[in-house]
């Protein structure tokens, strides 16, 4: 599903974020990216989404070399990739329902699809009763569920999560991880960058550890360290 071949990424100012990274992530896998801040976890996620492009090496997503994708095709790549973040990135002026519906509307989904898909996904994340609330009226955990609903409503092949539990207490984090696990069991590939030791240790999934832009460990059913 995702293949990195010798990927190097250098940001402006000669910061080497990734140095010759190679890895393959199969369809339906659940992968943790761990490592200290600045080790290159977020860069890997941003490369998969083509928010950044690699300076050397090749990246394949769903069988396509994404460097060779013309810019007008990038949005169609992103429709196959859902993203969630530490800060949720919800629109403050829209209700829970509208936030999720927005993701379908802006890719031109017809109204009847929006009307059936949004309530279904809100039920999946357990927020059907909060559909008309604004994000600020929700707890952090609930806001992250809205963001997961928005990322997953279009049934992407891949879900990228960048420190999704970074702002949440341990109990709430467990709830979020259960939800991501459920999504993973539907066949969606999940790649999650995290600092949360206890989550990695309890989940017992594949762990890729990065340090200074290199993969120093790649372990099936691994632990944090």
């Amino acid at each position: 599903m995702i293949t990195f071949e010798n990927v190097t990424k250098i940001y402006k100012g000669n910061v080497e974020a990734l140095r010759g990274v190679s890895a393959t992530i199969e369809k339906g896998e659940f992968v943790f990216l761990v490592g200290p801040s600045g080790s290159g976890k977020s860069t890997m996620l941003r490369l998969i989404n083509r928010e950044e492009t690699a300076d050397k090496g090749r990246i394949f997503v769903a069988g396509k070399d994404i460097a060779r994708l013309s810019s007008w095709r990038v949005p169609y790549l992103r429709r196959n990739i859902g993203c969630i973040f530490q800060d949720y990135k919800l629109l403050a002026t829209k209700t829970v329902y509208e936030n999720v519906a927005f993701a379908l509307e802006v890719i031109g989904r017809p109204r009847n699809v929006v009307k059936t898909q949004v309530p279904a996904i809100l039920e999946l994340v357990g927020l059907e009763s909060k559909a008309d609330n604004l994000p600020e009226e929700l707890s952090g955990g609930e806001q992250q569920r809205v963001s997961i609903a928005r990322a997953f409503v279009n049934r992407p092949l891949i879900l990228l999560a960048d420190e999704p539990t970074g702002n949440l207490d341990p109990a709430t984090s467990v709830g979020i991880m259960r939800l991501l696990d459920r999504i993973n069991r539907t066949g969606t590939t999940v790649v999650m960058a995290t600092h949360d030791r206890s989550i990695v240790d309890t989940m017992q999934r594949r762990v890729i550890e990065l340090e200074h832009g290199r993969i120093v460990r790649d372990q099936a059913r691994g632990v944090y360290q």
Binding site: I81, E105, I107
Partner: protein, 298 residues
């Protein structure tokens, strides 16, 4: 769904930035008003100087019952005068066509001309070698006294005044108009930039979930185009006002002699209208397109 989304977004953007939007619209309006007026005046000058083109300053209109001998005598007389650089005979057909053009929007006059093509006489049109007003004036008097000549008009000074003043005014208006056009472009650029800043979170999410670039861009493009178009519509008010003023002046007793040809035909007026509208749309599209290409990274 898509259409009402786009309309809603465009309208919200315009309302959110109301002060900058008004500033942009007003600048477009003033600059295009100057531009459109210049264009209209320019066509007026073209029309008036078509009559006096090639520096013709003396016109001898002929009686309709003029004989060939009288004609020969006039031509010999003109040829004998070295201060005439060249001359031209304008027959009835050409005079009629010219008059129809000058009175394009004066229906009463047009009907009279059509009913009676003889109304506009043949004429000799003379161009002097030097700028000797006196010499031409005395020659004009002599010509007027010759048999077969109906009337001699010497419009050198008045024509040059009108053409000179209007050329100066046109140049000044064009310079100011172009300056303001650039200002309008920059204001639209900034209005769109502000709108994009206000919506940066939405834009971020749209990109994330895979909205196409065009889908993200269209509301902003339309916002700029609407600003340009509204400005152009205001500018047209000024253009029509100037046109009415020119029409009135052309019919006013005191100025008729000078202003008669100084009108734009209806075709020329509509040409100006189209140019102003198109320019408004182009400025709006260029301003927002520039903002999008600079500040909206894929």
């Amino acid at each position: 769904m898509k259409l009402d989304y786009i309309a809603r977004e465009t309208f919200t953007n315009l309302r959110r930035n109301v002060t900058l939007t008004i500033a942009a619209i007003m600048t477009v309006a003033v600059s295009l008003a100057l531009f459109g007026s210049t264009l209209l005046l320019n066509q007026g000058v073209d029309n008036v100087s078509a009559r006096w083109k090639d520096g013709i300053t003396l016109i001898a209109f002929l009686k309709s019952d003029i004989t060939d001998e009288q004609r020969d005598a006039i031509e010999t007389f003109i040829d004998e005068h070295p201060e005439v650089e060249r001359w031209r005979y304008v027959d009835r057909e050409e005079s009629h066509a010219e008059a129809m053009r000058l009175f394009d929007r004066n229906e009463a006059m047009k009907q009279r001309l059509e009913a009676n093509p003889e109304l506009v006489p043949d004429s000799y049109r003379l161009t002097p070698t030097a700028d000797d007003v006196d010499l031409m004036a005395s020659m004009g008097e002599e010509l007027a006294a010759m048999p077969g000549v109906l009337q001699v008009t010497d419009e050198r000074e008045s024509v040059q005044t009108v053409v000179g003043v209007s050329e100066f005014a046109q140049r000044a208006m064009l310079v100011v108009g172009i300056g303001l056009l650039v200002a309008a472009l920059l204001l639209i650029l900034n209005a769109i930039r502000m709108a994009m800043y206000a919506r940066r979170r939405e834009i971020e999410v749209m990109k994330l979930v895979g909205a196409t670039n065009w889908f993200i861009r269209v509301p902003f493009m339309l916002e700029g185009i609407v600003q340009g178009l509204i400005g152009a519509i205001f500018a047209l008010g000024a253009v029509f006002a100037l046109d009415r003023f020119m029409q009135r002046a052309a019919q006013h007793e005191d100025y008729r002699a000078i202003m008669e040809g100084f009108v734009a035909t209806s075709g020329e007026l509509w040409f100006t209208v189209v140019v102003v509208l198109v320019l408004g749309v182009v400025i709006g599209a260029a301003g927002s397109g520039w903002a999008l290409s600079r500040f909206l990274k894929v």
